[in-house]
Amino acid sequence: MGSFENDLNLEATELRLGLPGTEESEKGNGFRSSNKRPLSDSEAKQDGVEEKGPKAAPSPKAQIVGWPPVRSYRKNSLQQKKADPEAASGIYVKVSMDGAPYLRKIDIKAYKGYPELLRALENMFKFTAGEYSEREGYKGSDYAPAYEDKEGDLMLVGDVPWEMFIASCKKLRIMKGSEAIGLGCGL
């Protein structure tokens, strides 16, 4: 019975409230986007977001420069048919986390939207971001992901549509503690 259901891929046709591409089976630290209009709009605009099927979507790992240590030549010749994140023009931004000794760098173009990006950051720095809402920012966590935009202002991740975020994000910063609280409460 179970396998029959899998074959029919009922999940693809299931009606639910979540955005396409987000799994109900996510653990509580996933990015919930239930009442975020800018995000919903940007997510809805993107077509072709595939369902991963019955198993939980894997946390996307951020691409690290020069890792795994495979020579450029070998990497390029094997990846000719596959989209290679380092060969294509990615948008690499620094990511810092308050209290961490060194920075990382990620290609924000490698992600399809905020949920993926958040999952990747959580995975990379081992934290949970909490639940996002326009009104309260990231609730239920000591951490808030913020970014510096083109004008040098520190912004909360998630407030603007994804495409606008990609175009304006210069640096990411995972803020901790009391500093993080002020950002969510309107400008």
Binding site: Q63, S72, S77
Partner: protein, 583 residues
């Protein structure tokens, strides 16, 4: 009798009578020494030996092109015919070194033109080589015979055309894995019609199509051709025609193995392979499928090195192929063969000494293909002579590695890459400290080690305590504190190259090696916790080291993001680009 003792005698006549070694004998004997280490040792015995050695040396190996200058080189060694030069730090292979960093061959060639007009051989690794340099080489050195370029950049196929056109005595053209501007395959047509001396031709890593008629005629007239590695533009039936012309090949790199062959063409191909009785090395085989692989079975009887790292074989195909390769010593594969393929390796290749498993999709988000600890284990049970391994995998356990090194204690090179940075033992969730502890405890001959996975300082304590023959260590995303790096610097007497990235090692660790770095070739540290002040202190205390910091947009205030430290008798670089600060 010791010539040194004779020299110290105040009576010079006495000294001459006691000296047992006429110069001619010394020269003859030293001329027989090949090993660089032996020659270096000989040159330290006495002034007489130093001079005899330097006059008789014909081949020089320079592991870091900035450790010495071309002027110093030619001054000491007047009769060099063969030069081996390595340039950029190894992490430049992984895009960690910006363009235009340096290691340009041209300044060397200018000096060589004046002092080594009879230069025959140049082997370069990670150097920048321009087309002008290649043309200069081709025109100025009339005796030039052998060119090998590995992981170099800065040139195009036009440069190769210059070599082919002008080097009348060329025996070797070996072009491997370079950042080359592949404009066209026309360079191959530049070998003159009366040119017949080629013994080695390797253009496997070039992509542009070559004129097959030119190639066929070249192969036909070069009777001494021993090594031929063609590129993917050469089809199977073309390969067959080449093999028929060069049945005495010892090393073959095929072109694409994907083609629709008629039954007759297949039979001809198989016959051609059967005719290759001397084949010891086989590579290429891109897009190889089970359909045509059997054609090469007859050529595999004497095979000692099989390089399948560009052929995405499945486990079954590999197993069938290996059944025909009883004498295999070295095997390179892609992880498409999976654990099952590695089991076949263990079952068929009892003489295996070297195994390299490369990832087909290194940047995949999920690693649910590829190889795991069981493949490695299977190989270790069947191949007890294993001494060199490079293994990219998605998961590993401490227990597996411990068993592997129990089975194979002869490891000299152990390079394990668990592709997810900082990943623990997937069964116990513990750090991988005990795995590498087992490696260094069980393998006393270990010269080269690359570590990965979740590692604390304990790994480095083990390395410092047990790895007494370790010469090269590569570390990434590992360690807990300065103590780790200190253990290695204090504990490994033979350490020559240390390369570290993304580890929490800072100034204390860096400075603990103050005395050590002059006995090493180089140290690389990037994305660690060293600061400019720490590096400046190092530079101040150790004037014979070059301490270079690369400016990077990544750097925070005062952070030294990329540090490269190396000993040099040539002083600070004079050709450093603006982003390299020599402290």
């Amino acid at each position: 009798m010791d010539p040194k003792r004779a020299k110290q005698s105040p009576d010079s006549a006495e000294a001459i009578r006691l000296s047992p070694f006429p110069d001619e004998a010394l020269d003859r004997i030293l001329a027989l020494l090949d090993s660089h280490k032996d020659r270096s040792s000989a040159s330290l015995v006495s002034k007489a030996w130093y001079h005899a050695e330097r006059w008789s040396r014909s081949c020089v190996f320079i592991g870091n092109c900035y450790s010495v200058s071309p002027e110093i080189l030619v001054h000491r060694f007047p009769n060099i015919r063969r030069v081996i030069l390595k340039g950029k730090p190894r992490f430049s292979d992984f895009n960690l070194v910006p363009q235009n960093w340096g290691a340009d061959i041209h300044s060397w060639l200018l000096v060589f033109a004046d002092h080594y007009p009879f230069l025959e051989e140049l082997r370069l690794k990670r150097m920048t080589v321009s087309d002008q340099s290649l043309e200069f080489l081709a025109l100025k050195f009339h005796n030039f015979k052998s060119l090998s370029l590995l992981s170099c950049d800065g040139f195009s196929t036009d440069g190769l055309a210059a070599i082919a056109t002008h080097c009348r005595n060329l025996t070797e053209l070996d072009i491997q894995e370079n950042g080359i501007d592949d404009i066209s395959g026309k360079w191959l047509n530049c070998f003159p019609d009366n040119f017949t001396s080629l013994e080695v031709l390797n253009f496997a890593s070039l992509t542009s199509e070559v004129n097959f008629d030119s190639l066929e005629r070249l192969v036909a007239r070069c009777n001494s051709l021993k090594i031929l590695k063609v590129n993917q533009s050469i089809t199977l039936d073309q390969l067959q025609r080449l093999l028929v012309r060069a049945p005495r090949l010892m090393e073959l790199g095929s072109g694409s193995f994907l083609q629709d062959l008629t039954p007759q063409q297949y039979t001809d191909l198989e016959t051609a392979f059967r005719g290759c009785r001397n084949l010891q090395t086989l590579s290429g085989l891109s897009e190889a499928s089970s359909l045509y692989l059997p054609a090469l079975y007859p050529a595999c009887a004497n095979l000692t090195f099989l390089n399948l790292s560009y052929a995405a074989l499945q486990s079954e195909e590999l197993a069938k192929l290996l059944a025909h390769c009883p004498l295999l010593r070295r095997l390179w594969v892609l992880d498409t063969v999976e654990d099952k393929g590695l089991e076949a390796v263990g079952q068929n290749c009892s003489l295996l000494e070297e195994l390299r498993v490369f990832p087909e999709h290194p940047f995949d988000q999920e690693i649910d293909h590829g190889v795991t600890e069981s493949g490695f284990l299977a190989v270790s049970y069947g191949c007890r002579k294993l001494s060199y391994v490079l293994y990219f995998c998605g998961q590993m356990t401490n227990a597996a590695v411990a068993t592997i090194v129990q089975n194979c204690p002869d490891f000299t090179h152990f390079r394990l890459c668990i592709m997810n940075p900082g990943q623990p033992d997937y069964l116990t969730n513990e750090p991988m400290d005990e795995a590498f502890g087992a490696v260094v405890k069980n393998c006393p001959k270990l010269q080269r080690l690359a570590v990965s996975g979740l590692l604390t300082d304990l790994t480095f304590e083990y390395i410092g305590t047990y790895a007494k023959n370790l010469e090269t260590l590569s570390v990434a995303f590992a360690g807990s504190s300065d103590w780790g790096m200190q253990c290695v610097l204090e504990g490994c007497p033979k350490l020559r190259k240390l390369e570290i990235r993304d580890c929490p090692f800072g100034n204390k660790a860096l400075l603990s090696g103050l005395e050590k770095y002059e006995s090493m070739r180089s140290l690389w540290m990037s994305a660690c916790k060293v600061t400019m002040n720490g590096c400046k202190l190092l530079a101040r205390e150790m004037p014979r080291l070059n301490v270079e910091v690369m400016e990077d947009e990544e750097s925070n205030e005062g952070q030294a993001y990329k540090v490269y430290v190396y000993r040099s008798v040539a002083g600070p670089r004079r050709d450093a680009p603006p982003f390299v600060l020599t402290l």
